[in-house]
Subunit: 364 residues, 2 copies
């Protein structure tokens, strides 16, 4: 591998805050250049401004961090700018995914701020009816998402990777995108009609989160460093259980979490009727009466706080909440066992363990 | 340039129907493979079925044709499979653009068939309220569009291009996408509040259509064949006026066209209040009374056939319709003049002239 702009590694391994700062600097500079070009070409600067605000409003940068961790896990000691930029492209892709997700879910807030489609509807409300402004907000947000997707390609293409590196990662990028979109498709078409199909809920969880958020970023980083199939397989053995645990925790937070921490309204997941493992288990383990009530409340767009409390009560009473906690703990242990067996250097191994801890124990 | 699977050229130049058939065969085989993979991975096969139906329901394949014409214009005589696949990737990208466009415009039909979001809403209506099914249709269509965008990348990445070819076209692909999305963004944010700003309407026309539909596909094909800047510039001098003429014709068809030919309802453009050059000219050249009426009708979602007739009458009376016809004729002549000066071989030159004729004289 080549070091275009080598950055010294902080011993005994890279620090999460440092990696995050490196990734954010790339994103910020890229969007700054896009803003200048838009001015030159008399194109709307609103697009890059909205994306900058969105990216700077929070986010854990998990995917770029895992990409860089995969890079170091494959034995790379330096960390050239090209690899940081390739890692940053994953965050730009994720901005696309979240912006489209919020339009589909019609979410009002994200990370404690109004969602992109809401911001744009408000910004373009003058001279329009409320419904015309809402429609414009949705359309403009879909387009800003599309641009984020395109710009994630551009970040990758202009990173300065070698042809060998590009050839190694382009197929992984293609597969990652198809997986997350298929997972999202399964999710969207299952939402609103909750069933006790735990296997389908787990498949959604695997494609939407475990592969997209953990496995593929690690693979992409490792492949940039020239890793072969045995390391990719070892990383998968760690990544899939961690990713599933991450999503199972997310499902619990969506129902039982504190909106002050999660940054999104507490009722959204219930009102949507998301086809989660938690909901499927509750339906499977409930009495007839409980199941009838759950089917009434899950996906009810007019769900109140009282309904939500009743739903939480049933989910807890069926033992589904406890079962999901157990599944998270099992997956966490399984992931750590595989990590120990994987012969990853201490620096990246520590990062992976920290990320697994964070994914499983987080409150946001 | 390398010929991986050389296809003999039909003298004295490639035939449009042959090129179209080659492109369609690639798209069909690709989506067939996607369907098989989806079965294997227990992912929804609906996605590739919907895309196949969409692509087979019509479409002129203008962008792949122009890409292949650019390839031959740069002197290439054979036509390897890799280049046909790269050209096909532009059609897959276009499927993305149209599917998202129809969601944004809330169009009911495209090419005489129900739009993708309408088809999906109907398909998933069981057990859902009408509005929940509509929302699901929109979300699923956005996701299928996202997958088409991702798969257009995959078609390009897996075409078997040389590293030199990939390096030459990736920046052009990135620029093309950013241009069309910016143009679309300008369009969406201008729609519903029509003004007499002819310059802005022309900018939308240039970015959304002239560059996206004509200039960039030609550039991409020529760059695949190793063309230098002088040929790219000569192609631009032809492409921009042809593309503008194409869009100006589209604007006229949107207002005055026969739905039996265009395949979309006659009132959509008026009801949307699209910021077209035609509308801007009509507003600029109208009396106060005419302008007031136009502002009432353009963007009126409840517009009737009678309103539409009145609007058409005003547009004609202001001379805007005639002026747009003149602009089309001027651009057509300008394009042909530049084509003659461009020293393109007779085969591709004939194709370019045919495409210019078709773009300007079409009824659909």
């Amino acid at each position: 591998m080549t070091a275009l702009t080598p950055t010294p590694l902080v011993p005994p391994g890279p620090d999460r805050d440092l990696l995050r700062a490196e990734v954010d600097a790339v994103l910020d500079a890229f969007l700054g250049r896009k803003a200048l070009t838009a001015v030159d070409q008399r194109m709307p600067t609103e697009v890059s401004t909205v994306l900058r605000d969105f990216l700077s409003s929070g986010g854990k940068r998990i995917r770029p961090l895992l990409c860089l961790t995969g890079w170091h896990a494959a034995g790379a000691e330096d960390r050239p700018h090209s690899v940081i930029q390739a890692a940053a492209s994953l965050e730009m892709f994720h901005a696309f995914a979240l912006i489209h997700d919020d339009v589909m879910d019609q979410s009002a807030t994200r990370r404690g701020h109004p969602t992109v489609h809401r911001t744009l509807a408000a910004h373009h409300s003058r001279g329009r009816t409320l419904s015309a402004a809402d429609r414009l907000g949705n359309s403009a947000a879909v387009l800003i998402g599309d641009l984020a997707l395109t710009w994630s390609d551009e970040l990758l293409h202009t990173a300065g990777l070698t042809p060998t590196q590009l050839t190694a990662v382009l197929p992984l990028i293609d597969v990652m995108r198809t997986e997350v979109m298929y997972g999202q498709y399964l999710d969207v078409t299952a939402t609103g009609t909750p069933t006790d199909d735990v296997e389908r809920a787990l498949a959604i969880c695997r494609y939407k989160t475990a592969k997209y958020t953990v496995e593929r970023p690690l693979h992409i980083g490792a492949a940039l460093a020239g890793a072969g199939q045995p390391l990719l397989d070892a990383l998968s053995a760690f990544a899939i259980p961690v990713g599933e645990a991450f999503q199972l925790r997310d499902d619990l937070l969506g129902v039982f979490g504190d909106p002050a921490h999660t940054g999104k309204p507490a009722l959204d997941d219930l009102r949507e009727g998301k086809a989660t493992v938690l909901a499927a288990l509750a339906l499977r383990q409930s009495s007839q009466e409980q199941a009838d009530q759950l089917r009434t409340f899950l996906g009810l767009s007019t769900l109140t706080e009282d309904h939500a409390d009743a739903t939480r009560g049933i989910i807890t009473a069926t033992g589904a909440g406890h079962k999901v906690e157990t599944m998270i703990a099992e997956r966490y242990e399984q992931a750590l066992r595989h990590l120990q067996a994987a012969h990853v250097a201490p620096g990246p191994a520590r990062l992976l363990r920290e990320l697994a801890d964070g994914a499983v124990r987080r409150r946001t």
